[in-house]
């Protein structure tokens, strides 16, 4: 038996302990100690996860369900047969996620020691980070949906705390950060609502929320296609089909398999009506998809992710690239049995994913902020994963999740390094120029920026009563102390740190020579993301494209065609905008003096970059197609697929299609080459500081629409946010203040008035009182003697 797996509750406890230590003693310990404690609190779980891999392989990959110490039953109402225990689950799927979370998390903790240096709330940052890791581990080690939901909500909370970490910045920037945090939380909540409904529906249908119960037989994929694909989707059914009843010893997935492969269609009883089981499963998965769309930033709930770049860059790397946003993919993969039984939902998921991939990829072309490009890139790559999960290739989506964690984490950390370098360059300049009384060297080129959408920050400081912003403010979510540049010429006195945005790519250029380590690792990340052979992204992206191609062309599913086309387009966009970014940031000549004075970051920051770069290079080895493998030289094929296949029930068989691989490679290389052609000069910007795409009439709208994010935020603002705000204002000012408050004050007024009138009864004269008493006595006597009086009167 796998007794080492019993240590898994410690994986959650250790980050919590680290968090508590930093919370209580953080200020006294000093920066170095806080960082080490927090990193150790994540590093030790990483070692535990490595140990879990070894022990799992030795025990035939059998999943282990671990009860935590001291907690006997979490939600337990025996009389209503409700039993939802707090149990941890160790199987290949959760261990994979654990490794990604703790591994990348550990590197990001190390990075943060350097990045958050001299921040005034340094311990608090690591407290939140550790809390996040703890919640995320709860999410992936959960054995039932409710526990996963606890982790789901918890990471949403930590995301809120971390995005709004710099809520106390001045000049309206703190407001921007906290608005972004609130937006993330609220949009996530919409998704959580769907997930909650899915959980309730699952519980109603199956009587349990556990994935599998302890000692349950492993779930085998149905040999023949179950009757789901042929079942008509009707909402109501004559109740001649047998009713689904909860099976005692089986979890959700086991029960699903049993009911579906019984030979007869079943129905679920909802009080008066019976609904076919397939419809119920479709509904459950649809509601789960709402949760996925919220958490993993798909259309239409993706708008929070670009705004989340207001948080510190390690947060963007950890939460919004590697871990939290992948929780949706994890949910789908974990529920692969349910999704396999709901082809409609899977088709919808595929289309949503592919559409998001193309949509976000297009928007990324027009962004100026270095982190915004990466944010939209993340949304796009999540679209890839979601599309793969929808098409049924769960392990392929997971492979891309793992490689994406590597190279996107790398890219974000690299961007943070660049931002740090730019800030240092700017500070060095302003401090040097403070000796002069005149102009600063760094502001010389900033007046050139023409059609910038960066709104002036002074206008919106302090006036934030809305939940979300309008258009322009979103593009200038600078997290590190600077604001965007306005259209008007900058007067001398504003040419201080306020007007300089270290995240704006137009201020960069030529950083290749200033920050070589950052450059080379960023280049590796770019090539990996674009899908260039032999980096990690090539293998995972090619797997996804292959799956959609097979589903479309070979299996004839229409969503495969759509997905393949959109994903190929998104791959082209990816290569294009990433190479555009490389040209703007690293190549060419430096465009501002701040870039001229930028320097390489400290070792705390560059070492994790190097580690991640190595992983991004060799990550493809995790899941090599059989063609490339060489078991003799110990290069195993399809490692990850076989590893995950121990847990994921429905694993597609994958054949490596050389033609497809070459097509994908050609698309990516084409994107890079075209980007090189467009942006290939020493200074890609036009004379007026615009993107070269704007200079040509044919491509001008292409760029402008992308820059305006296709007006997604503006559309939401008009359609949803403003009506909501107006309604709530009306309810508050009119209904609450005028009607309800007046009503209650009116009642109080009536009581007061009647009290005043009635107090006139108290005349203070004893005679009045005695007279009243007499009247009362007479009345009572009459009432008592009433029958007698009637008798006397009648008789």
């Amino acid at each position: 038996m796998n007794t080492f797996a019993l240590i898994v509750p410690w994986m959650v406890f250790l980050p919590l302990i680290g968090m508590l230590i930093n919370l209580v003693y953080g200020k006294q310990m000093g920066e170095r100690a806080v960082g080490i404690v927090a990193s150790a609190a994540v590093g030790v779980p990483f070692l535990i996860a490595l140990g879990l891999i070894i022990t799992l392989s030795q025990t035939n990959f059998a999943p282990v369900i671990v009860n935590p110490p001291l907690l006997d039953g979490w939600i337990s109402i025996p009389s209503a047969a409700i039993e939802i225990p707090w149990q941890f689950r160790v199987d290949t799927l959760s261990v994979t996620m654990m490794l990604v979370i703790t591994g990348v998390g550990f590197l990001i903790h190390i990075y943060s020691i350097g990045y958050m240096h001299n921040d005034e709330r340094y311990p608090r940052f690591f407290v939140y980070l550790n809390l996040f890791i703890a919640f995320m581990l709860v999410l992936v080690t959960a054995n039932n949906y409710l526990m996963m939901f606890v982790g789901w909500e918890g990471v949403g909370l930590c995301s809120f705390l971390l995005i709004g970490f710099w809520f106390d910045r001045k000049h309206g920037e703190g407001w921007r950060n906290s608005n972004a945090a609130r937006k993330a939380f609220i949009v996530n909540r919409v998704g959580d609502f769907g997930f909650m409904l899915a959980i309730m529906l699952t519980f109603w249908t199956f009587g349990t929320l556990d994935y599998t119960k302890p000692n349950e037989a492993p779930i085998v994929a149905a040999a023949a296609a179950s009757d789901t694909s042929a079942a008509p989707i009707s909402l109501f059914n004559s109740s001649t089909t047998p009713i689904v009843k909860p099976i005692a010893g089986k979890g959700v997935f086991g029960q699903t398999e049993q009911w579906l492969n019984d030979g007869t269609p079943h129905s679920v009883r909802f009080g008066a009506t019976d609904v076919p089981l397939t419809s119920v499963l479709t509904l459950i998965t649809l509601l789960m998809v709402i949760g996925v769309v919220g958490k993993s930033a798909q259309i239409p709930l993706f708008t929070w992710l670009p705004d989340a770049m207001a948080g510190p860059t390690p947060v963007s790397a950890l939460i919004h690239a590697a871990t939290m946003v992948t929780a949706g993919i994890y949910l789908i993969t974990r529920s692969n049995v349910l999704f396999h039984a709901a082809p409609i939902t899977s088709a919808l998921v595929t289309i949503i994913g592919a559409a998001t991939a193309a949509y976000a990829g297009y928007i990324a072309i027009g962004q100026w902020d270095i982190k915004k490009v990466l944010a939209y890139s993340t949304v796009s790559q999540l679209g890839f994963m979601v599309a793969a999960a929808g098409i049924g290739a769960y392990t392929v989506a997971f492979f891309h999740l793992v490689t994406h964690a590597f190279f996107k984490g790398l890219l974000f950390l690299g961007a943070g390094s660049v931002i740090h370098g730019m800030e240092h360059g700017h500070h060095a300049l302003t401090h040097a120029a403070h000796d002069d009384t005149g102009a600063h060297g760094s502001t010389g080129t900033e007046g050139d920026h023409g059609t910038s959408l960066h709104a002036s920050s002074e206008a919106d400081s302090g006036s934030h009563s809305d939940v979300e912003h309008g258009a322009a403010e979103h593009t200038s979510e600078g997290a590190t102390g600077a604001h965007g540049v306005s259209n008007t010429p900058i007067p001398e006195e504003r040419a201080t740190e306020e007007a300089f945005d270290p995240q704006d790519m137009r201020n960069m250029g030529g950083l290749r020579r200033k920050m070589p380590v950052t450059y080379w690792t960023y280049l590796i990340g770019t090539l990996a993301l674009s899908g260039i052979f032999p980096f990690a992204g090539f293998w995972s992206k090619d797997d996804i494209l292959g799956s959609t191609f097979r589903a479309g062309v070979i299996s004839g599913r229409f969503e495969g065609y759509i997905a393949f086309g959109l994903l190929l387009l998104a791959a082209f966009f990816t290569a294009f905008y990433m190479w555009r970014q490389i040209r703007y940031v690293f190549l060419g000549s430096t465009r501002t003096a701040a870039a001229e004075h930028a320097g390489e970051s400290s070792a705390w920051m560059t070492v994790p970059l190097i580690v991640l770069a190595v992983l991004a290079t060799v990550g493809g080895l995790f899941n090599l197609p059989a063609v490339f493998a060489n078991p003799g030289a110990n290069i195993q094929p399809e490692l990850l697929t076989r590893w995950l296949g121990q847990t994921v029930t429905y694993v597609p068989e994958s054949q490596f299609n050389v033609v497809l691989a070459i097509v994908a490679l050609a698309v990516a290389l084409g994107g890079i080459l075209i980007a090189n052609y467009v942006y290939g000069r020493a200074n890609p910007l036009t004379k007026r500081g615009n993107d070269p795409l704007v200079a040509r009439v044919e491509t001008r709208q292409v760029f402008n629409l992308a820059n305006a994010k296709l007006y997604a935020d503006e559309i939401y603002d008009r359609l949803i946010v403003q009506p909501f705000v107006r309604t709530s204002r009306w309810l508050s000012n009119f209904v609450d203040r005028q009607i309800i408050d007046r009503g209650f004050m009116g009642i109080a007024g009536i009581v007061r008035w009647s009290g005043q009138r009635l107090s006139g009864v108290q005349t203070g004269y004893v005679r009045t009182y005695t007279f009243t008493m007499l009247i009362g006595v007479v009345v009572v006597l009459i009432i008592i003697l009433f029958p007698l009086l009637r008798l006397l009167a009648g008789g």
Partner: protein, 104 residues
Amino acid sequence: MQPSPVPIEYFVILSAVLFVMGVLGVLVRRNAIMIFMSVELMLNAANLSLVAFARQWGEVNGQLFVFFVMTVAAAEVAVGLALIVAIFRSKKSIDIDELNSMQG
């Protein structure tokens, strides 16, 4: 004890008349001591009625109850007169029409 030769109605009427006179006294009089005397009158009217009926039905309960009434009346007078003295000390008057500061 044989029933009384005087018919019971006379006693009852007398008791009622005394009681009404007491009530009128309480309502009309302004002097607090006079009001107390009227209250005593009402009590005694009740006593008379009790004793009369006790004699008629041959029960001793009525007469026993009169003892209680008298005791209570005595206690009440004691307390009441103490109150009147206290009021007089502060207000220098026991005219009840002037004792209306609990108004409102």
